[in-house]
Amino acid sequence: MSTSQAPLIPAPGDARKRPLVVMRSVSKMFSSGTLALSDMSLTVEGGEFVSLLGPSGCGKSTALRIIAGLGDVSTGTIDWPSSRINSKGLPEGDISFVFQEPTLMPWQTVFGNVYLPLKLRGVSKSAAREEIMKTLATVGLQDFADAYPRELSGGMKMRVSIARALVTKPKLLLMDEPFAALDEITRQKLNDDVLRLWRETGITVIFVTHSVFESAYLSNRIVVMKARPGRVHADFPLKTSMSRDAHYRTSEDYRQACEKVSNMLLEAIGGEEH
């Protein structure tokens, strides 16, 4: 496990190892004059689970939003080598976003909320029904299709949000500190759910978090970011022969991973105060 830049050129022949999104020297200046991101380059390959980790103000959320096309880059480019691009330069239908809050429409049922992305594409409700119920089943909410968001717990609302993100079968799932507001037990459960969905669907995940433990548990690659201006401090893979489950949480591998990530984060924070 050594600190290294991810290779820009993928190994040929491996379909999953093709770059999905390539950020080249991306900078983002807000209208207030704050430089939120400075010269950030990042290549994410198909099937990766990448965590963007860093102190607040390091631009990790900004980076995620830029990848999602919410807000333009000031300089630099973002490419999608393996996707069809729409007029806005985005691979429409290939990306989904999970916000920190569940961001559900309170006037719609669980079903209606998950139906939204398909409705906006013009899919009829009856044609979408099967897919929606299947997706709800993968997050364990098949019995709550007719419930309104206010009737659900925080963890269940987050599951609805995840189901809505998955219903379009995206290639890339962007998650912006999705479980930060949840209690520790719910959070661990949802972490396991996300890992299971990632393994089952082969989806690529970019996961923004400020938790060392969460990132060490979930990701097979970690990008540690530094603040003022936001930039990449370290980018390294996390390998383990173990499967990531309850046993992994108490293993030596996990302890080492946490230590490594923690040290990198300390370096990144320490670097601010020179």
Binding site: R65, A68, G69, L70, N86, K88, L90, E92, I95, S96, F97, F99, E101, T103, M105, P106, W107, Q108, L116, P117, K119, L120, R121, G140, Y148, P149, R150, L152, S153, G155, M156, T168, T186
Partner: protein
């Protein structure tokens, strides 16, 4: 999975047990009103106050019955004007609100005008409207419309601008068109604000219909309750004045009940304002 077993509530036995609170909530105010009416009649009888100063409830009820032939067409006219004004105000208020929030520039350009119109006391322009409007009925309608229109407009503008930013981002992300965002997100999201506007506007439409009629002072077949009220005053027929007043109150109560019901009907499944607190 989070457990969703409903909390165990010990069931109360019998109809009275289950609906006790609702029953009390209905009965207590009714009892209070009945007591007050009795007190009123009692004071009138004991002090032998003449009818042209203060009629008792019996005299008012009598007048309501005997003058129904005069009062009912007037009630109908006032109801019509109020409802038509409210309907126009709803269409206009929502339509213009949607237009105003289309862009920052449109709002900057037009919103001050709507504020000026709003803060101008409508009674003050009623004489002008009476000059320009083809008939008195139309003039009354315009007055009532103008008064009911602004609370609906300003609430609707507020609602359309208070949409959750993350949901707006989500719609952007899924490539929603302007039309889809308006129809599926902005309009449903501003429904609670619209309902507030509707309830305020409904009450104001009635007030404005009465005030405008005072200003217009129209007479004849097409006159409403406000005119009957003035007429009774001139003729010192105070029981009839009270009867007209009772009808106006009842109309107000009915409008309030209807708008509250509409609001409850559309919001009770999801909006906080229509939910009981669970603690």
């Amino acid at each position: 999975m989070t457990d969703n077993a409903p909390a165990v509530v010990p069931p109360k036995s019998g109809f009275l047990g289950r609906n006790r609170e609702t029953l009390l909530r209905t009965l207590i105010p009714i009892c209070v009103v009945i007591c007050l009416v009795f007190l009123w009649q009692f004071i009138i009888t004991v002090n032998s106050i003449p009818q042209y100063i203060l009629p008792g409830p019996l005299a008012v009820a009598n007048s309501l019955y005997n003058d129904w032939g005069t009062l009912s067409p007037a009630l109908w006219v006032t109801t019509q004007i109020t409802m038509q004004a409210l309907a126009l105000a709803l269409i206009g208020g929502v339509g213009i609100a949607i237009f105003l929030v289309q862009s920052k520039w449109i709002e900057t350009a037009f919103y001050p005008i709507t504020v000026i119109l709003q803060v101008t006391p409508i009674v003050a322009i009623a004489p002008l409207i009476l000059i320009y409007a083809p008939t008195t009925q139309v003039a009354l309608l315009i007055c009532a419309f103008l008064v009911a229109f602004f609370p609906i407009l300003s609430n609707m503008v507020q609602g359309l601008k208070s949409v959750d930013h993350n949901l707006l981002n989500l719609y952007d992300l899924y490539g929603a068109s302007r039309w889809q965002t308006l129809l599926y997100l902005k309009l449903p999201s501003s429904l609670p604000y619209f309902m507030t506007g509707l309830r305020i506007g409904g009450g104001l439409a009635l007030i404005a219909a009465v005030v405008a009629e005072f200003a217009a002072g129209s007479a004849g077949a097409g006159s409403g309750l406000a005119f009957r009220l003035l007429e009774s005053q001139y003729r010192l027929n105070i029981p009839r004045l009270f009867a007209a007043l009772v009808l106006l109150s009842l109309l107000g109560v009915v409008i309030f009940a209807i708008t509250s019901f509409i609001s409850w009907f559309f919001l009770h499944r999801w909006h906080e304002s229509s939910l009981k607190r669970e603690n």
